[in-house]
C-alpha cells in the first residue's frame, strides 16, 4: 500500500486539495446561508420550529439519493456536488444558529435597543457575536459530516477523494482496488481532523475573551 501511495502521491495530493476546497467552500456558503436564514426566523417561534424541522428532516435524506435526484436537472459534474454538499453543510449550522440567536439574553437586546442601536446593528454587533460560539460548534459538526458526503459526490463525477473510493469499490478484488479505497478513506479522515483543528483555532481567534469558556 505504501508503494501505491508513493506512486500516486501527486494525484492523491491533488484530489485531497480538491476535496478540501469543495468542503471548505460549501461549508462557508452553507454557513452564510444558514445564519442568514436563522436571522430571519429566530424571533418567530413558528418559523424557528419550521427551520428546526427542515434541518432534522433534511439530515435524514440519504446523500446518495439526493445526488441521484440532482443528476436529472444538472447532469454530471461539479454543480450537483456543490448543491448537495452545501445543503448538508447548512443544516447543522441552521439549527445551531437558531438556538444560539434565540439564546441571547433578551435583556441585552433590550439594552442595546435602549441605548439607540438599530435592529440591524443589534443583530450584527450584539446578537451574532454572542451566538457565535454556538454557531461555530454547528460549523464544526457540519464540516465533519460533509467530509464524508463530499466523498459520495464523486458518484456524480464531482471532485475529491471520493473518486479513489468509488474506483476501488467498482474494481473490488482487482489489483490495488482495496488500496485505492483505503487511501481515499484514510485521507478523508485525516483531512477532517486537520480541518477540525483549524476550526478550533478560528474559534479561539474569533470569540471575544469576555465570553470564551
Amino acid at each position: 500500500m505504501w508503494e501505491y501511495v508513493l506512486d500516486r502521491r501527486g494525484q492523491i495530493a491533488y484530489q485531497a486539495l480538491q476535496h478540501l476546497s469543495l468542503v471548505a467552500q460549501c461549508v462557508l456558503l452553507g454557513s452564510v446561508l444558514a445564519v442568514a436564514l436563522a436571522a430571519l426566523v429566530y424571533r418567530n417561534p413558528k418559523a424557528s420550529a419550521a427551520a428546526n424541522a427542515v434541518s432534522a428532516v433534511g439530515l435524514t435524506i440519504p446523500s446518495f439519493a439526493l445526488l441521484g435526484i440532482l443528476l436529472a436537472p444538472f447532469g454530471f459534474g461539479i454543480t450537483p456536488a456543490v448543491i448537495a454538499v452545501t445543503f448538508y453543510a447548512a443544516l447543522p449550522v441552521l439549527r445551531n444558529a437558531v438556538v444560539g440567536l434565540a439564546g441571547v439574553d433578551r435583556s441585552l437586546v433590550e439594552s442595546a435597543r435602549g441605548i439607540g442601536m438599530s435592529r440591524v446593528a443589534t443583530l450584527v454587533r450584539i446578537e451574532l457575536p454572542l451566538a457565535w460560539p454556538v454557531v461555530l460548534a454547528g460549523i464544526r459538526v457540519s464540516t465533519q459530516m460533509v467530509m464524508g458526503i463530499a466523498a459520495v459526490a464523486a458518484y456524480v463525477l464531482g471532485p475529491g477523494l471520493g473518486s479513489f473510493i468509488f474506483s476501488g469499490l467498482s474494481r473490488l478484488g482487482g489489483a490495488n482496488a482495496l488500496n485505492a479505497t483505503l487511501v481515499g478513506t484514510i485521507a478523508i479522515v485525516l483531512l477532517a481532523l486537520v480541518l477540525d483543528v483549524v476550526l478550533v483555532l478560528v474559534g479561539r481567534l474569533t470569540t471575544s475573551r469576555g465570553i470564551r469558556v
Binding site: G114, I115, G116, G210
Partner: protein, 397 residues
C-alpha cells in the same frame, strides 16, 4: 437639642439637594400617555399626565404589574405609546426616530445590561461611537466616566464584564448611560440584583453623581426605602399606572394620599424618616482624635480631662482605624496602629438609617463619621432618636 441643631436639620434632604446645584437635565412632560396591548380589556397604562422638573430624580414606585416599567419604557419608546404625547423640554418626541431619541436618553437596567463580549471601554464608548465622535474623544470620555463612577480607568478600561463584581458592573452601566452626556437618565430597577451593602454604596454614589451632574433621572423601583432615600419626588402608582400620589418623600411618608399609599409605604413609616435625613444634617459630637504612634498616657490624660470614654484613632492620613476605650488604650505605651475591621464608619451623605444599621452591629454604640478631610465626628444612638423626633415634628407641623 440646641437652636442651631434645629436650623441644621430644618432643611430636609431633598430640599437641600435640589437647591444650589447645576442642572443639565431637561423636563419631561407626559400628556394622556396610554398603552393598550391587543387582546387586553384594560389599558396597561391609562392616560397618564405627569410633569417631571428638569434636574430632579423622580422615583416610580408601585406593585409589580402596575405599569411603572411600561411607562418608563415609553419615555424612550422601547414601548410605543398607543396614545398621548411625550415632551422632552419643549420637544414633542412622540414622533421622533426612536434610535436617535434613545441616544439622547441614558438607559440603565438591572445588572447594567453590559455586553459581555465587549470590554468596559467598548461598552461605555458605544453611544459616543454611534454619534460619530472621534476615537481620541471617546477614549478621553471613557476615562472621565470611569473616574466619575469611582473605578480606576487604568485597571478597568480593558476588563470584560464578567471580570467585574455586580456592583462594579452596575457602575459601568451607569457610566455607559452617561457617556454621551444625555439630559435624561432612565433607570429600571438598576440596583435590584446586588447585595444590600453594595446597593447602599451605589445609592450613595448615585446621589453624589446626581449632585455633580444635575440630570433629570426617572428611576423605577419597588423598594420604598430606596425611593425615599434617592428621590427628590416619588410617584406612587396603582394598576394602570394611575398616579395615586406625586410628592416629596417626606409628604408621601407623612401624609399618604390614600389608604392605598399608606399600605404600600407600609408600617414603620416613622422609621422610614430615617432614610430622609443624612448624617451630615444632624449635629455630630466631636470625639477626641489621636494618631497611631502618639504617647498613649498623654492621650488618656487629655481624654480624661475632656470627659471622653472613647478615643478615635486615625492613621497617618487621618483616616479612622479604630475606636478603643480609655481602658484599652491605657494598656499600651503608644497608640496602636492596628486596624479594626469592624469599625463602624459612615459618610456624611449616608442616611441615618445606614448609620443606625452600622451602630447596631458595632460594640461602641455609635459610628465614626468621615468627611472629606478625615474624621468629621461621631454619632450615637441618642442622636438618631433626637433626629427622628425632629423630622417628625417638622412634617406634622
Amino acid at each position: 437639642m440646641s437652636e442651631t441643631t434645629a436650623e441644621r436639620t430644618g432643611a430636609t434632604a431633598s430640599e437641600r439637594r435640589s437647591t444650589d446645584r447645576e442642572v443639565s437635565g431637561v423636563s419631561i412632560r407626559l400628556e394622556g400617555v396610554t398603552k393598550r396591548y391587543p387582546g387586553q380589556s384594560t389599558a396597561a397604562v391609562d392616560a397618564v399626565d405627569l410633569e417631571i422638573p428638569a434636574g430632579e430624580m423622580v422615583m416610580f414606585v408601585g406593585p409589580s404589574g402596575c405599569g411603572k416599567t411600561t411607562l418608563l419604557k415609553m419615555l424612550n419608546r422601547l414601548v410605543e405609546p398607543t396614545d398621548g404625547k411625550i415632551f422632552l423640554g419643549d420637544d414633542d418626541v412622540t414622533g421622533q426616530d426612536p434610535d436617535q431619541l434613545r441616544r439622547r436618553i441614558g438607559y440603565v437596567i438591572q445588572a447594567g445590561g453590559l455586553f459581555p463580549h465587549m470590554t468596559v471601554a467598548t461598552n461605555i464608548g458605544l453611544v459616543p461611537g454611534m454619534l460619530k465622535w472621534d476615537k481620541a474623544r471617546i477614549s478621553a470620555r471613557v476615562d472621565e466616566l470611569l473616574d466619575l463612577v469611582g473605578l480606576d480607568p487604568e485597571v478597568y478600561r480593558g476588563r470584560y464584564p464578567r471580570e467585574l463584581s455586580g456592583g462594579q458592573q452596575q457602575r459601568v452601566g451607569v457610566a455607559r448611560a452617561l457617556a454621551a452626556d444625555p439630559p435624561v437618565l432612565l433607570m429600571d430597577e438598576p440596583f435590584g440584583a446586588v447585595d444590600p451593602v453594595t446597593r447602599q454604596r451605589l445609592q450613595d454614589e448615585l446621589i453624589r453623581i446626581q449632585g455633580e451632574l444635575g440630570k433629570t433621572i426617572v428611576f423605577v423601583t419597588h423598594d420604598i426605602d430606596e425611593a425615599v432615600k434617592l428621590g427628590d419626588r416619588i410617584v406612587v402608582f396603582d394598576v394602570g399606572a394611575r398616579v395615586v400620589q406625586y410628592d416629596t418623600p417626606e409628604a408621601v411618608l407623612a401624609e399618604p394620599a390614600e389608604d392605598y399609599v399608606a399600605d404600600f409605604v407600609g408600617a414603620g413609616a416613622t422609621l422610614k424618616q430615617l432614610t430622609l435625613t443624612r448624617v451630615g444634617d444632624v449635629t455630630l459630637q466631636s470625639p477626641l482624635v489621636a494618631r497611631a504612634g502618639e504617647d498613649a498616657a498623654d492621650v488618656v490624660r487629655r481624654a480624661t480631662a475632656a470627659g471622653e470614654q472613647y478615643v478615635v484613632v486615625t492613621d497617618r492620613r487621618g483616616r479612622p482605624i479604630s475606636w478603643p476605650t480609655l481602658a484599652e488604650l491605657s494598656r499600651a505605651s503608644t497608640v496602636p496602629d492596628t486596624v479594626d475591621d469592624k469599625l463602624p464608619v459612615v459618610g456624611l451623605r449616608s442616611t441615618l438609617n445606614d448609620a443606625l444599621d452600622a451602630m447596631l452591629a458595632a460594640s461602641q454604640g455609635g459610628v465614626v463619621v468621615t468627611g472629606r478631610d478625615g474624621v468629621a465626628g461621631v454619632m450615637v444612638v441618642e442622636t438618631v432618636m433626637a433626629a427622628i423626633q425632629q423630622t417628625r415634628g417638622q412634617v406634622e407641623g
